[in-house]
Subunit: 420 residues, 2 copies
């Protein structure tokens, strides 16, 4: 790592830490005014943003021919307007800071309040989509945190332009300097440096693919909230309404296959396999889904190729579905708890006992009965917005909104009490 | 590390993971019956425990002459009875598992419940006191978790005996094998191994001194809840009731100086320094407190030796107190946020504005107005029991009781809903 990179990360982390004290004390009115000013500024500066984005897109196109990453990277007037609207949505969300979560009086007269406070400094390490830059900055800021953004090199010009515009607009309305920092050095070492700054950074949230999340989990000395990996299952029980099951399977796999809450494996009870698999197989194949089945599946689903052991453990994030016949709810639960990533899991059944067992025994952030796994999302859950979907059990699980970007403190009022 | 040590840690972690699924499904009645049986078994087996403890004490006495560690290590009939009573207290605490934390219905009719579930497998790495073995096992178990205990080598015979007795009694009443595991290999490498088993261990809680906590924070790949370090301050404001302030300072320093919530630094407003410091100095000196003051302090407190920069950052855990004169609440807040460990901080004042500023701007788990810092404790706070006091902001802050040893999941009930 160059000295300059180290200097940049440390300098910005220090500035973020200093800003966090001021941010923690800001009122909702002050914060919302800043968010609305930022939204207007983004729209007003759209040509500047599009120009920076054009440079990113060209650089990626020169490196490779695949269109997919370019689509994720590309900004348009419409996408900028959407991002600005996202800032206005965050302004409308209630301020979590200052909420009294609980309060009680001790026998000696001491009064205790448990009060929600910001986490402090949040680091976000993410991949190419530049809208994450604005969304993450807005959510961290509304929850009273300073944020250090470390985006992918593909979007670096877009990200720098976006953060500059947010800061210029924000500072005019009282945003403390250092509240929104972006690491401009894009080498791996800069991210590594950020992961070691326990004295300045309170939590790191990686957002991106398997490799990124693994690396942050492995390397970070700063506490991490793991997000996103979703090897999700739909289990169709013997007691399922098969017409509903078919709609749910098709929705969970096909409605948006590239996201973490899409289904990757279908488990079907042996008793309904011969009826259900041919129908759902034909429907999925017609929608372009590549099917990979166990031996028993392939007897009922002519479209299926043989599944390998690896398929059960894979988050395809594309139109591929692994299919397995199981002997019942026990085997389904065991399979999911073995291969799942603790994200979103569904059972389709009319049997109350199986539904209860599934919801209790499956170890996942979101466990569904008779609904598509695609609902695991802060917006869908009614949380207003989300910074990511946690697949760990510490601190926050499932969709993380503003309250999940906070901690709490105990405020204790006495009149001279001492401990006997 | 020997292969045997690696084998032991991995074997026990796997067994704990397997037990955790069964533990999560246990009812409160089942768990309480086991806790009460364990309490009776400890009392019945006291001679066996004392015999194992005698071997530990002798080994430590042969290594060194200081009496202090031996006192922490020593078990007596009375201490065993107290530990058994602790198990009965945990049995009386409400079961956190299954609590519905929130629930709502989406516009499409889907019903969401946020339900408390166990964390899974909790690792505890701790130093010599053998009562921690039983307390930690009981709290983790009541919260539905499997526990892997890794105590210090000084108490290894006591710890092994205690865990064997807990398991023998528990298994007779339905405790799953693997619910309470103890690592018998006492080398550093065994602890290191435990810190890397992310696939089996959900969280690590280190309990002990600065060195142990640092090491776990540095090395662990498993998420950590940091506990215990307390460089706590009492700030006596110009508007303080000085008689009360004196009682609080004496209590916070002297009532039990070896614990994390004892005060280590006294900050005094310049306007009351000449009145307050001579009085409190004489009183503290008479109680055997070594005083280390800034230059200005020493003009009013003849007993004080000069304080060094290092003193402001030190958790003495003994009858030593650093003393500093400050210009007001701003300087007090800045000093505490710079040198404190975010544990427990107190202001003594009758000024409402200063009290409000202190409670809002101090970044600590517990912030006191006009009371001793010694109340930061799960038992004192009315939580029934505690596994430790968290000084981090993620997951839990301050005293951690049973709810802090849990996570949650979302249970979603539908009737065929799919995402449009």
């Amino acid at each position: 790592m160059t000295t300059t990179a180290t200097d940049e990360v440390i300098r910005k982390a220090k500035r973020a830490k200093a800003a966090s004290a001021r941010l923690a004390a800001m009122s909702r009115a002050e914060k919302d005014e800043i968010l609305l000013a930022m939204a207007d500024a983004l729209e007003a500066a759209s040509s500047e943003i599009l120009e920076a984005n054009r440079r990113d897109v060209e650089a990626v196109q020169q490196k490779q021919s695949s269109a997919a990453p370019v689509d994720r990277l590309l900004l348009t007037e419409a996408r900028i307007a959407e991002t600005a609207e996202g800032l206005r949505t965050v302004a409308r969300l209630p301020d979590p800071v200052g909420e009294v979560l609980a309060g009680w009086r001790l026998p000696n007269g001491i009064e205790i309040s448990k009060v929600r406070v910001p986490l402090g400094v949040v680091g976000i390490i993410y991949e190419s989509r530049p809208n994450v830059t604005v969304d993450a900055a807005a959510l961290c800021f509304k929850a009273g945190n300073a944020v250090i953004l470390r985006g992918g090199s593909d979007a670096i010009n877009s990200n720098i332009a976006l953060v500059r515009i947010l800061n210029e607009a924000g500072v005019k309305h009282g945003l403390p300097e250092g509240a929104i920092e972006i690491i401009e050095t894009t080498d791996r070492a800069a991210a590594g440096q950020l992961m070691r700054l326990t004295q300045y950074v309170d939590v790191l949230v990686p957002r991106g693919g398997h490799g990124l999340i693994r690396r942050v989990k492995e390397e970070s000395r700063v506490p991490v909230i793991e997000t996103g990996e979703g090897n999700c299952h739909v289990y169709v029980d013997a007691a399922a309404d098969l017409a509903r099951a078919e709609e749910i399977v098709v929705n969970a796999k096909c409605q948006r296959p590239s996201v973490c809450n899409a289904a990757e494996t279908l488990l079907v009870h042996r008793d309904v396999a011969s009826e259900f698999l041919p129908k759902v197989g034909a429907r999925l194949a017609a929608m372009g889904v590549e099917l990979r089945g166990c031996d028993e599946t392939r007897r009922h689903m002519s479209e299926a190729k043989p599944a390998t052991e690896e398929d059960w453990a894979t988050e395809f994030l594309s139109l591929v579905l692994a299919v397995k016949v199981v002997g019942g709810v026990d085997e389904a639960i065991a399979h999911i708890n073995r291969y799942g990533t603790r994200h979103s899991e569904a059972i389709i059944t009319q049997n109350l006992n199986n539904a209860r067992r599934f919801t209790r025994e499956i170890d996942a952030a979101a466990v569904y009965v008779n609904a598509s796994t695609r609902f695991t999302d802060g917006g869908q859950f009614g949380m207003g917005a989300e910074i990511g979907i946690s697949t760990q059990k510490l601190h926050a699980r499932g969709p993380m909104g503003l309250p999940e970007l906070t901690s709490y403190k105990f405020v204790i009022m006495g009149e001279g009490q001492i401990r006997p």
